[in-house]
Subunit: 384 residues, 2 copies
Amino acid sequence: MDLVVHKYGGSSVASPALIRAAAQRIQATHAQGKQVVVVVSAMGRTTDHLIQLAQRTVPSPSPRELDMLLTTGERVSMSLLAMALEANGVPAISFTGSQSGILTDHTHNEAQILDIRPHRIQEALNDNKAVIIAGFQGVSPSREITTLGRGGSDTTAVALAAALGAQECVIFTDVEGLMTADPRLVEGARLIPRLDYDQALELAHLGAKMHPRSLDLARRHRVRLVIRSSRFDKFPGTLISEEEKVENPDIRGIATQSGYSYWEVEATLPQIATATKKTGITLRFFHATPRTVRFLCKSDFDGALRKALEAGALTNRSIADVAVVSAVGHGLSANPEILSTFLGALGAIETLLVSSSALSITAAVNTRDLKSAANQLHAMLVGQ
Amino acid sequence: MDLVVHKYGGSSVASPALIRAAAQRIQATHAQGKQVVVVVSAMGRTTDHLIQLAQRTVPSPSPRELDMLLTTGERVSMSLLAMALEANGVPAISFTGSQSGILTDHTHNEAQILDIRPHRIQEALNDNKAVIIAGFQGVSPSREITTLGRGGSDTTAVALAAALGAQECVIFTDVEGLMTADPRLVEGARLIPRLDYDQALELAHLGAKMHPRSLDLARRHRVRLVIRSSRFDKFPGTLISEEEKVENPDIRGIATQSGYSYWEVEATLPQIATATKKTGITLRFFHATPRTVRFLCKSDFDGALRKALEAGALTNRSIADVAVVSAVGHGLSANPEILSTFLGALGAIETLLVSSSALSITAAVNTRDLKSAANQLHAMLVGQ
């Protein structure tokens, strides 16, 4: 029998009405004779509210107790969704991460899935039940409740799809799918109907609304992934699966990300690595010359980074309000013509850094130039 | 080593500030070298809000999924309390009902505790940790999450105190302890410093702010129970334990309860039992004559009761807005003088029913007369 995994994000189960709407869609899938496993996130902003509640209680909550707290969010939405299905006459049952057999390591707040033993899920599916699973959570070998960190519910969904041999894993979200550009920036942005795992991962790393971790898991287990709207059934969404690689440059999308600062440090890369290694700060898009390293870092870490560099007596300067804009697609780096087109499309816009990888070319620009840069690149490289 | 069980009700953990205050008291107990197990309810009105959320999603939620939903409330408060203790430097750990080894039957929403296997609690206590337990919840033999019904957290606390052989079980609440009367009705109401289990049970059945179920459990396992204020440490509270029975009438308190209707039905008691047995409605304070039965029933059930009686073609009439007022203490029923004093104290107040048991005399009055009745009885039978 066909088995599908659905995943509903927080914005798609944010109210009783949205939960009933999700139940109707699941009911329709169940009525087609499919086995359905549904992974849910916490309702709306619940997880943020729980974190705030913890912080109002103590300045720095312990990771173990924070997991105990945060995992309640998904349990609320899963039980409400199961109730809504039962009220529609669909046999349904909800399971916590622990009941689902999602076994993780001991790392609270950022646990890795070690194994999935979905005995109870299988039994419930055999009983013709729609099975609702709390995303984002698991249980450690010492029976402690753990959470999977950011993007955790997507990870739960993809890992379950792999463990259960699902036909596909559909991520329902508040966007239409993966887009050729952020539609808030680029008017001509359109849905990308189909991507392979590598392209999707590159887009996610460079700012698309999808977590790289679950994409990487999907790639490793060859899970067919569909990202689609929970509001508009008519949008087919984006299918991410294996695909023939093409040699022709095939630009798929313009990814954008803001919130960066640009840094120049008078030091070697090893000196910088030594000075910053305890901070856990990720430095991105390096350009190293013998005496100077240029890179970007998320602005949130500016203070900590400056402190670490100064502790290491490393001269530095930085520019705030920096964004990156990337063209993502196969064959880009092997094609100098594309690089020339890319730079030409940016025209007079000042670029602080330009970087390329196997699947992308990225420019760092001042945030005020991001919209024009994205539009000009989209027009030249993606087209209408 | 001395072991104590503390229980904090919803109003005593309703905010981060109250949770920190509870943590300070637990810290003080821990600093005395005592082992501490703390049972918590959900914060404030959380359980009611979760029930409303379920009802906004579906008209009648399934019991299994409702338990899944409701048990999140205690998990939030227990993790916050454990965080607050850790932030004060007290080693602490929170456990769910399942992790605490609270094994129940399969009855969702009203589960009975079958056994307690507190291995993890014992281990944590041996590690010098304060152990925080989610009240109201357990796990069934098929690993389903269950709840214990109304008064469930008190039941958890008393059952754990019995299983762990605790020195005492302290119920922290928003009142000073058990009172000689409801202080909102009777100005001269004072704290009852000491009661035996039977008196406490009788008071609870007749309206005192304590659930009979946990008292009954305390009585059966001889758990020393203290009910005291979570706000004012200076109030010593009420100690409920074994006590010498005394033959002298020893009136301890005036209990009051409103929200009843008074019924007269032209039928025999067996006819009424047959007509109402499927409704699950409790009829209280019967007086049966050969042709007429008089009794009280909670007004919430008036509609259902009338329907059942009419379906059985039983002629009936009822009076709404009825309350009961009881004098509770040893030796009451064996003492006609007390009955005479009781009735004399009510003076001109109309009594719809008068009933007595081993430990109490109860009168049903119109709710508008409840305050005078309670004050007159308190003045005559309890004294200032």
